[in-house]
């Protein structure tokens, strides 16, 4: 068969795939609408909901918006019904819903839900703080996910993100306190992430041990090590070794950009680690898709034999990817002790590394999408915070499940088919 024939075949097959009616999006829309309708119908709340779109210290002060809670909720249901109907019509006509319909649907659902929850509540929903808090919550997740993406794109599964975050958080606290410089702590955190990555690389790449097992063992090792050192070293010397409270990075307002209404205070009134994150997302995307290094890294993750035949050193490339990824995750670890909290505590990462791993898969092994996944999770976590103040009839235990429920819904409903790099997790042996 000639290449031309193959191409033709491919086109025919692709055309067929597209021609199938896909009802996934309209079904997710419909079920969300039905659920919210039931919620509003069964548990009506009186009163107005108060929203704020900024704080009084912003450049442009937006006054408080007060809307009648239930009316607003039902209006958003109306919008959602229309969008759902539209999605069904489009799907029936073999067409995909446009992405902005999904965004509009999500915004309507969220706004309606908050209007319902805030109805008659004594608390004000500050939308800007809600989203800027979500960004802050997402930061360690995004760094973890970026590291995960690089590693897995090169074919090394990194279960040890949790260990890298924890080790980096520990090292950042220790070094920053001892040297009196948060910057030194940040660099040390990157070295710590790098060091844990070296353990991972040693076993996963050099000794070809099952990568999942290596990752899990590394997590246990680092958890034990940091807890041991914390109790034996940091606790007795808290003020001299584990006190970053006076050193923590504070938020920096970027002149100009931070004066943009709504967006400004959300994105441009963050800490230096957040700004580094914006740069890191762009840089990782660029490096993976637009540079020779990225092409080679992806090649060894997809088809190491082919890459090897082309003269690319498979294991060398993987080593480099894993070590760079470790340093990136290290910055995320530093966030725990240089921004979030004024000292290290044992097991303070509390499983965020595993959620980063989920963000990698949810983001389909793409740095930008993985970062978005991290943001979604951060948003759900912060939503739980504000809902806790609104005296909703939903018990707090259910609210705490929200981030996980949202992630599950998004993965199942709105994300397309995800595909891991073909050689992900498979050690390379030269034949």
């Amino acid at each position: 068969m000639t290449a031309a024939v193959l191409d033709q075949l491919q086109e025919v097959v692709e055309a067929r795939v597209i021609e199938r009616k896909k009802f996934k999006v309209p079904i997710v829309f419909a079920s969300t609408t039905v659920l919210l309708t039931l919620l509003y119908g069964l548990s009506a709340r009186d009163g107005d909901a108060q929203f704020m779109l900024g704080s009084s210290s912003d450049f442009v002060t937006i006054p408080k918006v007060v809307v009648p809670g239930m009316t607003t909720a039902w209006i958003t249901i109306g919008i959602m019904v229309v969008l759902t109907a539209l999605a069904f019509v489009l799907a029936n006509a073999y067409k995909k819903s446009p992405w902005y319909a999904t965004v509009l649907f999500c915004v309507a659902a969220m706004f309606g839900f908050l209007a319902w929850a805030g109805a008659g509540a004594p608390a004000v929903v500050n939308v800007v703080n809600l989203i800027s808090g979500a960004v802050a919550l997402a930061i360690p997740l995004v760094y973890g996910a970026l590291g995960g993406v690089i590693g897995e794109r090169a074919g090394v599964v990194n279960i040890a993100i949790e260990a890298q975050l924890l080790m980096a958080a520990f090292t950042a606290a220790l070094v920053a306190t001892v040297t009196g410089s948060a910057w030194a702590g940040l660099v040390a955190a990157m070295v710590a992430g790098f060091a844990v990555a070296a353990i991972l690389g040693l076993f996963a790449i050099k000794y070809r041990v099952n990568q999942v097992i290596v990752g899990v063992v590394t997590n246990v090792l680092v958890t034990g090590l940091t807890t041991f050192l914390f109790q034996r070293l940091l606790v007795p010397n808290q003020l001299t070794m584990n006190n970053t409270e006076p050193l923590r990075f504070s938020s920096i307002r970027i002149p100009g950009l931070s004066s943009i209404p709504v967006i400004g205070p959300i994105l441009f009134n963050q800490t230096i680690i957040a700004y580094l994150m914006y740069v890191a997302i762009a840089a990782v995307w660029f490096a993976l898709y637009r540079t020779r290094w990225g092409l080679r890294t992806r090649a060894v993750g997809e088809h190491p034999q082919a890459a090897d035949t082309m003269g690319i050193k498979v294991n060398g490339t993987r080593w480099r990817a894993v070590l760079i990824a470790g340093a990136i995750v290290g910055i995320g670890g530093a966030y725990f002790t240089l921004v979030s909290n004024g000292r290290f505590n044992w097991e303070m990462t509390a499983g965020l590394g595993y959620i980063s791993l989920a963000a990698v898969i949810f983001g389909n092994w793409d740095p930008v999408r993985a970062a978005m996944a991290g943001l979604l999770f951060g948003f759900a976590m912060n939503l739980n915070n504000i809902l806790g103040l609104l005296h909703t009839p939903v018990p707090s235990q259910f609210l705490l499940m929200l981030p996980y429920a949202v992630t599950l819904l998004a993965v199942a409903g709105l994300v397309g088919k995800s595909r891991a790099p073909a050689a992900d997790g498979v050690p390379y042996v030269k034949e």
């Binding site: 353990i199 246990v220 034990g224 109790q231 909290n341 303070m348 915070n385 005296h391 707090s396």
Partner: protein, 367 residues
Amino acid sequence: MKRATKLAAIAGAAALLLSACGQAPPEDGASPTANDTAAAGGGTAVEGFKPCIVSDGGGFNDRSFNQSGLEGLQQAAGSLGVDYIQVQSASDTDFAPNIQNLLDQGCTFIVTIGFQLADATEQAAAANPDVNFAIVDNDSSAKGLDNLKSLVFNTAEAAFMAGYLSAGVSETGVVGTFGGQNFPTVSIFMDGFAQGVDHYNEVHGTSVRVVGWDREAQDGSFTGAFQANEQARQTAQTIIDQNVDILLPVGGPIYQSAMAAINDSGRDILLLGVDQDFFVTDPTTAPILLTSILKDIVVAVNDATMEAGAGNFSASTYVGTLENGGVGLAPFHDLADRVPAELSSEVDQLKADIIAGKITVESYLNQ
């Protein structure tokens, strides 16, 4: 491949070893203390009395209830002139094996710390009727075991005083609280605090609000875990955004994240401590610490151990109250000038009124 497997095995073993070390240091604590005070005299223990203690996941140097529990046991063991054994739990799955370990070591009196150990303790107590147990922070009296003593603290009474005080000190008229998880031992602080604020409003005709706890629903703002991290900082931040100027975080180290959020806000926001006097256990809180709601676990464990050591163990529940000094309010320390003298004396009067039963503070312990 052989070498690789070996290396992996070594790494695995090292990992397990380290995690074991991290959580359960060698139990060598006993002899020095015992020797020191045994020489000084102290009480007399029944023949073969051996007190032992198990921590929950927090570890014995948590600057909180595990540490206090151990201190109480050490004091008692010191005055009785006996050795003791301490074991730390690394995780929930360690509780039962740790208790069994202590039983195997011949312990005759076992203190377990935290309601998380309740199931393991109750089962062990039922299975070993000739060993006495005491559990801190959990009411196991409903089980009817005559070898298990519950040591609980009606911190709602002290939190009531703190709530009243905060309502008086607050300038914005909004005070806030949040917890780790909605457990009775956590929410008792939040509920008592809210009652105190309500009482202040009644007495002074003000309308100070509590953010983060809904008395009617018995629910509020929770971080979901007892970890100081971004989640806790954002929970604190969300509450601070509601114009709160006094904050009561309840649950292990989450107060540290609250402190971070307070410092970040650049506003004049005060912190309330729980369990122990933060001024003593964590001096970095001093500049913003209004007071702490105290729970005297040291004395409770010490008394229970002394009782058992003298052969007078009783399974009757100990409830720490303002009356018996089991709970209380710490001094105002550095921020004493923020509390007007009149308010200070009102709070003192409140204590007297609660003890005298003129004011009833509701909690799960007196329903």
